[in-house]
């Protein structure tokens, strides 16, 4: 069975198959073997990959995996295929301007029913005392403004959603 991880806005498909005492990694048309992770306690382990051994530090938070390898930190998300199907349904019918970071709404420039062109200013938001403009990702008619002035939101929240009517 194929599994999928998101890393730096890219999606990677891979799977493991059993080896002699360890696993083989199938990814991008290649097979990398053997792969094994040993002594992993307290978020610390040794990764064996092909003939190389690499020290790895890690922390797991639900579907999110934080890794420190070769002096660099990487954040991956395990993409649970069943759960993502539900989300994609909602996104396909609505499209939303999503919050790039957590913050507070400073001003709202559109209301329900407004027709907007791509790049139009929807909201001014503030995060860490800095002001940012939220722009329309596409043209369309505003279906809903999800936050009012003064309300705070988390990263990834839908701020403004659009209906499918386009002008």
């Amino acid at each position: 069975m194929r599994h999928s991880f998101a890393l730096n806005a890219e999606s990677y498909e891979l799977w493991l198959s059993p080896g002699q005492r360890d696993y083989r990694l199938h990814f991008g048309g290649e097979v990398i073997a053997p792969v094994a992770l040993s002594h992993h306690f307290n978020g610390s382990g040794m990764l064996e990959i092909a003939s190389e051994t690499v020290s790895v530090r890690f922390a797991i938070d639900g579907d999110v995996l934080h890794l420190h390898i070769h002096g660099r930190t990487h954040i991956l998300r395990y993409r649970d295929q069943l759960r993502e199907f539900d989300l994609s349904e909602v996104l396909a019918s609505h499209d939303a301007a999503q919050a790039p970071m957590p913050g507070v709404v400073v001003a709202v420039r559109v209301s329900r029913g407004d027709a907007v062109s791509p790049g139009a200013t929807l909201m001014l938001v503030e995060s860490m005392k800095l002001e940012f403009v939220v722009r329309a990702p596409r043209g369309g008619v505003v279906d809903r403004v999800h936050f009012e002035v003064g309300e705070s939101f988390e990263q990834g929240a839908a701020l403004v959603t659009f209906s499918d009517e386009r002008r």
């Binding site: 599994h3 890393l7 094994a36 990764l47 660099r72 930190t73 790039p100 800095l130």
Partner: protein, 491 residues
């Protein structure tokens, strides 16, 4: 050092700077008290302080800005002095007055100095009248009806600035006169919102400007010394991310001149306390920018090269003692670089990030100082500034210091919240940075530096992720061994 007339000092601040101040208090045999909002209850500063007093507040920031409550807490803890740190109330003349009227020593300048330097328009005029260089500017209040046309006449690029405030907040750069009106409107809006003051001025911006500042120290007897310069030209959104001393841009002669001008400015202002006089340097001339009447975030680089504890000196002069240091006692050795570890994503226009610190390990190396207020398990929210820690490295040369700092940034493990650690390591090893040819537009001109690549690490990253994810292992384990062998055959 002479005995201080107080034995307990209240820190009206949080995070790394509170921890840093407590360390000096301990060294001097003084007791520490701290005020905190409940979101900070589990932080390092609160656990290190001898006494900790919780504040009520509608928001965490409101609590740290509540002068009345803080002074009441200081009274309750029976402290003799109050250190404001940086930010929050550190540059409020009203607060400094209220602390003094409560019979508590304010570890800072006189309220008059804060008032003079806190208003940038007034400070600029004061420095100009004292005969020191300032950048060409249009000040709105000089003649409001001609403000925009006077600003246009200065020539591009322009910088629109609110008179109040600091830290780059509200500043707008204008490279096209068509956007001047919008920039003025936004600067005014932000000035009003953050500082309750919409007064503006516009300065002509130098081409490839470098930010150079001088650390000064003054006492109540009119003595002022400098502790050399720091260069803070590597900035994003007008906020510093790498600071160093000495500046690679200055000749011995220019260094002497800029330090003397800074001492002159401070002396003219009868300045008492540690302070920083900031300048813009265009490669030939330098212009006064502003004076910060507090300890700066980047003060550790100065401490590393001079061996002087600036917080101890602040306490000494605040107590009314005469400076024990004379200019000839102050010598700079080697090179120091500080990098600011931020909870932010450089590749997404430095957007702030949030999370929970799941793992935190700082490397220990000689010549490395890490000022940090965070602990494992702590939540990183957007309630405060995104700075997590400062990594300060001291070496014989600039190149050595930069490479060592890059090494430390790679060794440091902080998991659970995206940070700029990898970006900082990349910057420290960038050829332009290493050559010293930096200026405040360096990051804007080199946007590729903000983007990290996994490169050859990708297979190792994916292998570790696969092996650590139970559903991935489970589906491999569900394949019977024999079938797996057959599978290999078929391929």
């Amino acid at each position: 050092m002479q005995k201080l007339p107080f034995d307990t000092v209240l820190i009206a601040n949080r995070g790394e700077i509170a921890v840093r101040i407590i360390k000096t208090l301990r060294k001097l045999g003084l007791r520490s008290a701290i005020i905190y909002h409940e979101v900070d209850a589990a932080t390092l500063a609160v656990s290190m302080a001898d006494t900790a007093i919780a504040l009520e507040g509608s928001s965490p920031i409101a609590a740290y800005l509540d002068a009345e409550q803080i002074i009441a807490s200081a009274r309750r803890a029976n402290v003799g002095a109050l250190h404001p740190g940086y930010g929050f109330l550190s540059e409020s003349a009203e607060f400094a007055r209220a602390v003094a009227s409560a019979g508590i020593t304010f570890v800072g300048p006189t309220p008059e100095s804060i008032e003079l330097m806190g208003d940038k328009i007034r400070a600029r005029r004061f420095v100009q009248q004292a005969g020191f260089p300032v950048a060409p500017a249009a000040v709105e209040e000089d003649e409001p009806e001609t403000f925009v046309s006077r600003a246009r006449d200065l020539g591009l690029p322009l910088l629109v600035k609110p008179s109040a405030g600091g830290g780059g907040k509200g500043m707008q750069i204008v490279r096209d006169l068509g956007t001047l009106d919008d920039a003025i409107a936004q600067a005014r809006r932000e000035g009003l919102r953050y500082f309750g003051d919409g007064r503006l001025y516009v300065e002509r911006c130098a081409e490839k400007p470098r930010h150079i500042e001088v650390q000064v120290l003054g006492d109540s007897f009119g003595n002022v010394v400098h502790l050399f310069e720091r260069e803070c030209s590597v900035q994003r959104r007008f906020q510093k991310i790498i600071e160093e001393t000495p500046s690679p841009a200055l000749s011995a002669e220019l260094r002497k001149r800029v330090c003397e001008v800074a001492v002159g400015v401070a002396r003219n202002a009868n300045y008492r306390n540690a302070g920083t006089v900031e300048f813009i340097f265009d490669g030939h001339e330098f212009y006064f920018l502003e004076m910060n009447t507090r300890l700066q975030v980047e003060h550790p680089v100065t401490e590393m090269v001079t061996g002087i504890d600036l917080v101890a000196e602040q306490l000494h002069v605040a107590a009314g003692h005469e400076l024990a240091l004379s200019q000839s006692d102050i010598v700079s050795n080697g090179h120091a670089i500080e990098v600011r570890l931020y909870a932010e994503a450089p590749e997404r226009e430095y957007a702030p990030t949030t999370g929970k610190i799941l793992m935190l390990e700082y490397p220990e190396c000689e010549g490395v100082r890490i000022d940090s207020g965070i602990v494992q398990g702590q939540k990183i929210t957007t309630a405060f500034d995104p700075m997590l820690a400062k990594i300060v490295v001291h070496s014989a040369t600039r190149r050595e210091a930069a490479l060592k700092a890059a090494h430390v940034m790679r060794q440091l493990v902080l998991l659970g919240c995206e940070t700029n650690a990898d970006f900082l390591a990349r910057l420290l090893m960038d050829d332009t940075f290493l050559s010293g040819q930096i200026h405040t537009g360096y990051l804007d001109e080199n946007p590729h530096l903000a983007i990290g690549q996994c490169g050859s690490d990708l297979p190792a990253i994916l292998a570790a992720a696969a092996l650590l994810t139970k559903p991935v292992r489970d589906s491999a384990d569900a394949v019977p061994k024999l079938h797996a062998e057959l599978g290999k055959w078929r391929n």
